[in-house]
């Protein structure tokens, strides 16, 4: 099996790589990629640019913007000529205005790459375009952190409106059989991802029941709403501080009798957590005990809070809860993929990764076990995994893009996190962008 599997992974992976679209002649994409390369090469420069991206929404004037930018660049020791020129602009008022305007425009341009629109209506063209290309979406509403009950209510209301808007958007689209049905039955077109941390200001790591109690009414209402409009509701996972609260809450609500027939709903499993296999035990035991008309969707991700988890653990003297070697994490990702595929039809499986090896592994494993391609969803992030998404779609696979929606101001923190992942040293995307040979990209984790 192992040899057959490796051969199949190679075959699938090479086919996908060959199907990647070419960007020759696309000046804007090339510019983006050059900025990303620059940031990836120098940690100090990367920090300076991220801090700038992060502060742009809070700046009050072009002068203020330029003051922050030059302040960050002062802390970069090796400055390319372009940065030295930028810093000289900071010496005069006119220069600062120009620099501030250029910086803000640069950030806004980058943000558009990741954020599909200010609200679901504005996102319509992008969502329609994806659907036409054979890619479904899960919309994620960006916003500031929730620190008050009012903010939690507003987020819940935005989610409810988004469910309506998405249902209307997708009603009007032409059929896409591959995206709308697996062997278990129909799949909702409209799909919204929500964060429990935005549904309550009361998530407390040492008292999970507080956040659960506070978020439960809002989440329950959203589940009802999703059921009414026939949409899928996916509950995102965040840092380990809230994992217990989020997972227990979602499983408890979905077990309530009123939700036995719907909506379609899902949770997230983070493969970078060392104890993620035990979390999967919990999820599968729940699924066995809780028959649902629409099986729980489990989205397997690597996890987006790696730096946070490592820093928090080191500051507190705790053992680091995440794998610190990429290969260990990748191996766990594959093991969890296998378990999830084998657990069907108890759950539906979504593999969310930009790692060509991980994706090819999931596809190959599914096919070798006699599974239907329709029973494996592959997810990518809009703005980062676009090429992979199109390659998967062109191979006839079921793809969903995770699409942030919201204004650029509120989306900045999100944006910075995505950039961090993209430019992290061991990222597949940066490897791929730098011409690492395909054999290496598809090699088993070691």
């Amino acid at each position: 099996m192992d040899e057959r599997l490796e051969r199949e992974i190679q075959r699938v992976g090479r086919a996908l790589a060959a199907a990647f679209p070419s960007h020759r002649g696309n000046a804007l994409k090339a510019l983006d990629n050059r900025a990303m390369d620059l940031a990836a090469e120098d940690a100090e420069l990367r920090a300076a640019l991220f801090r700038f991206v992060d502060v742009v929404p809070a700046c009050r004037s072009l002068d203020d913007l330029a003051g922050h930018l030059t302040g960050y660049l002062e802390q970069v020791h090796t400055r390319p000529p372009s940065l030295r020129a930028a810093m000289r602009m900071g010496d005069t008022k006119a220069g600062r205005a120009a620099l501030g305007a250029a910086g803000a425009a640069g950030v806004r341009h980058m943000a558009h790459r990741f954020i599909v629109g200010a609200d679901p209506a504005a996102a319509l063209p992008a969502l329609r375009g994806l659907w036409r290309d054979g890619i479904a979406a899960s919309v994620d509403l960006l916003g500031e952190a929730t620190v008050t009950a009012g903010e939690a209510d507003r987020y819940a209301a935005r989610c409810a409106e988004a469910l309506d808007a998405l249902a209307a958007v997708y009603d009007a689209l032409d059929p896409r059989p591959m995206l709308e049905r697996d062997t278990l039955g129909p799949l909702p077109r409209a799909n919204l991802s929500v964060k429990v941390s935005a549904l309550t200001p009361l998530l407390r790591p040492e008292a999970p029941e507080r956040g659960q109690r506070d978020a439960a009414p809002r989440l329950r209402e959203l589940l009802r709403h999703a059921a009414r409009v026939g949409a899928h509701l996916h509950i995102d996972m965040e840092s380990l501080d809230s994992r217990e609260a989020v997972l227990e809450l979602v499983l408890a609500l979905l077990a309530e009798p009123e939700f036995a027939d719907g909506p379609s709903a899902g949770v997230v499993l983070q493969a970078y957590l060392r104890d993620s296999p035990q979390t999967l035990d919990t999820i599968l035991a729940w699924a066995r005990a809780t028959p649902r008309a629409q099986p729980l969707v489990v989205r397997l991700v690597k996890g987006a809070y790696w730096d946070h988890e490592v820093v928090a653990a080191r500051q507190h003297g705790w053992s680091v809860p995440v794998f610190e070697r990429k290969a260990d994490c990748d191996r766990n990702f594959e093991a969890l993929t296998t378990r999830l595929l084998e657990a069907r039809p108890l759950v539906r499986v979504a593999i969310a990764s930009h790692n060509l090896r991980s994706v090819a592994h999931a596809i190959a494993r599914n096919r070798l076990a006699g599974g239907d391609d329709a029973d494996l969803e592959l997810q990518i992030l809009r703005g980062l995994g676009d090429d992979l998404g199109h390659a998967l779609a062109s191979e006839g696979l079921r793809v969903r893009a995770y699409c942030p929606v919201g204004d650029l101001v509120a989306g900045m923190a999100y944006l910075v996190r995505r950039l961090l992942e993209n430019t992290a040293n061991e990222s597949f995307l940066s490897d791929h962008a730098h011409g690492v040979p395909i054999e290496q990209l598809l090699a088993p984790p070691a």
């Binding site: 502060v55 009050r60 952190a145 620190v147 903010e151 200001p201 407390r204 008292a207 501080d241 003297g317």
Partner: protein, 519 residues
């Protein structure tokens, strides 16, 4: 003795259910009340003059303590003086070993000690656990520091003479401790004095004699001789008797400004029969300000300020009591902060869900309410949700705005869950207001501009400035803690130079020339 480099004792990972269960089990096993004696050498006199109760449920008695008389204070100092020669002559490594064994004793009892702090001082669980860890940290940190200090300090050497500087302990140290970090602070001051070879009379706060008992038990279990550490539970009289005693060489104090200044006055007045000047190491109050500039990330600033002002009901000397917000973001900030305060849960300390526990005693509750009343009269207040729980000394969190510049609310250390918001036109104006204060303990700044950070660092008089984080939670070895101006004597607990306040440098110069020969 070769020791591992110092590392902070890790707090419990309370986001995991198993860690929480460990604490609640310890609470079930906690047997109260404790009996706390006046404990001098091997003599224990028990009594019930002092009753320590649970601030979350005042009918629960946590400890029945004897209250030391002035005679007992004298006897304790005499015993400490008698033991001084032997302890001072004990090699620094052996003294350090005793402190490390005391740390091990506490480590074995972490959950039980935390449970006691929850009951006696209404420390919420995470803070009670952190208090135990900090006590352990002080033992480990000062043990290492004292070994290093025993090597003396290098001096310039020329042919024909040998110059040596070594540090000698000062003598008897009176430790007068507060209740708000009921294990860590008494242990910190005591451990510093003992590590450097002084003997100690510890007077714990009258609100926390039970925790004081555990501090002395830990040290004695670790092998500190009975004569070198005495326990003197009692009220202000016992403290005053210690402070004016001619044989007390050092007073180590953490507490209110009023008491601290009184101790400094008493110490300055050389007692009849005194043979040395009394040194005072004093850590007093503050009026801690946080600056929020227009570019601050409010998503992070608001939770951090809430924690700074309302955790442990604001009863930390490091707690934030004033926020100076740039006018450009004032309205958004005030609205979000008020909304966040409304969600705080006031309740008993042993409930993991509690955000704001009760204050320590009825007098404190009355004081906080007086200031809340004053703030409502002089400005406007937004209050949180009142406690939905029994008879504890609960105070509803308050945010005050629009106070006049001369308001007592902006000047006095209230030591409770009351936070004042002010508007400033610029960071420089905020710095001016902070500079006008006579106290300078902690400060906070939320800004994402490196140049603003530099400017505030240069202008800030405080002992501990926190940038883009909460103003509380100083860690031993990482954030040496202590204030300037009238906030204290400028000493830094948990820092490398703290031990120097417990020793006197002695220099020996020997002529090594004999009849023209350098020997």
């Amino acid at each position: 003795m070769s020791l591992e480099p110092f590392a902070n004792e890790p707090v419990l990972e309370l986001r995991r259910a198993a860690a929480r269960a460990k604490l609640t089990t310890a609470m079930e096993k906690l047997e109260l009340p404790l009996r706390v004696p006046v404990w001098i050498g091997d003599e224990r006199r028990e009594g019930e003059e002092l009753v320590s109760t649970d601030p979350s449920a005042p009918e629960r008695i946590v400890a029945l303590a004897a209250s030391a008389t002035a005679e007992e204070a004298g006897a304790a100092v005499a015993a400490a003086r008698a033991a001084f020669g032997g302890w001072a002559a004990t090699p620094a490594a052996d003294r350090a070993a005793a402190l490390l064994r005391a740390a091990a004793w506490m480590r074995e009892r972490r959950a039980a000690l935390a449970a006691l702090a929850v009951r006696e001082c209404a420390k919420p669980w995470p803070e009670a656990d952190a208090d135990v860890c900090e006590a352990i940290d002080f033992l480990e940190f000062y043990a290492r520091g004292a070994i290093e200090l025993a090597a003396g300090a290098p001096l310039l050497q020329v042919p024909g003479e040998r110059n040596e500087l070594h540090y000698a302990p000062r003598g008897v140290c009176a430790v007068i401790a507060p209740w708000n970090f009921p294990l860590a602070i008494p242990m910190g001051m005591t451990a510093a004095a003992l590590a450097t070879g002084n003997t100690v009379v510890l007077k714990p706060a009258e609100q926390a004699p039970g925790c004081g008992l555990r501090v002395v038990e830990a040290l004695r279990a670790g092998g500190v001789p009975a004569g070198a550490i005495a326990l003197l539970p009692g009220g202000g009289d016992a403290g005053a008797a210690l402070a004016s005693h001619p044989d007390v060489a050092t007073i180590a104090f953490t507490g209110s400004g009023a008491v601290g200044l009184e101790l400094l006055r008493t110490a300055a007045d050389v007692a009849p029969g005194a043979r040395q000047l009394t040194r005072v190491v004093a850590e007093m109050g503050g009026k801690n300000c946080v600056i929020v500039d227009s570019d601050a990330d409010l998503d992070e600033a608001i939770p951090a300020i809430i924690e700074s002002a309302f955790a442990y009901a604001g009863q930390k000397c490091s707690a934030a009591s004033r926020v100076l917000v740039h006018e450009a973001i004032h309205d958004a900030f005030a609205e979000r902060l008020a909304g966040a305060v409304a969600g705080l849960q006031v309740g008993p300390a042993d409930d993991f869900a509690t955000d704001v526990p009760p204050v320590v005693e009825r007098e404190a509750q009355e004081r906080v309410r007086r200031y809340a009343q004053l703030a409502a009269e002089e400005g406007a207040v937004v209050t949180g949700t009142p406690a939905d729980a029994g008879a504890g000394w609960y105070c509803t969190p308050v945010v005050a705005t629009g106070l006049p510049a001369d308001s007592a609310v902006l000047r006095d250390e209230i030591f409770g869950p009351l936070l004042a918001i002010e508007t400033v036109r610029s960071v420089d104006e905020a710095c001016d207001r902070i500079d006008a204060l006579p106290v300078a303990l902690t400060g906070g700044l939320f800004s994402r501009n490196p140049r603003t950070v530099q400017r505030v660092v240069a202008r800030s008089p405080v002992g501990n400035l926190y940038v883009n984080r909460a103003t509380t939670g100083a860690m031993v070895g990482r954030q040496p803690f202590g204030g300037n101006r009238l906030s204290g004597t400028g000493t830094k607990a948990g820092g490398h130079d703290y031990l120097l306040h417990f020793v006197e440098p002695r220099v020996v110069t020997e002529n090594t020339v004999r009849h023209g020969l350098v020997v």
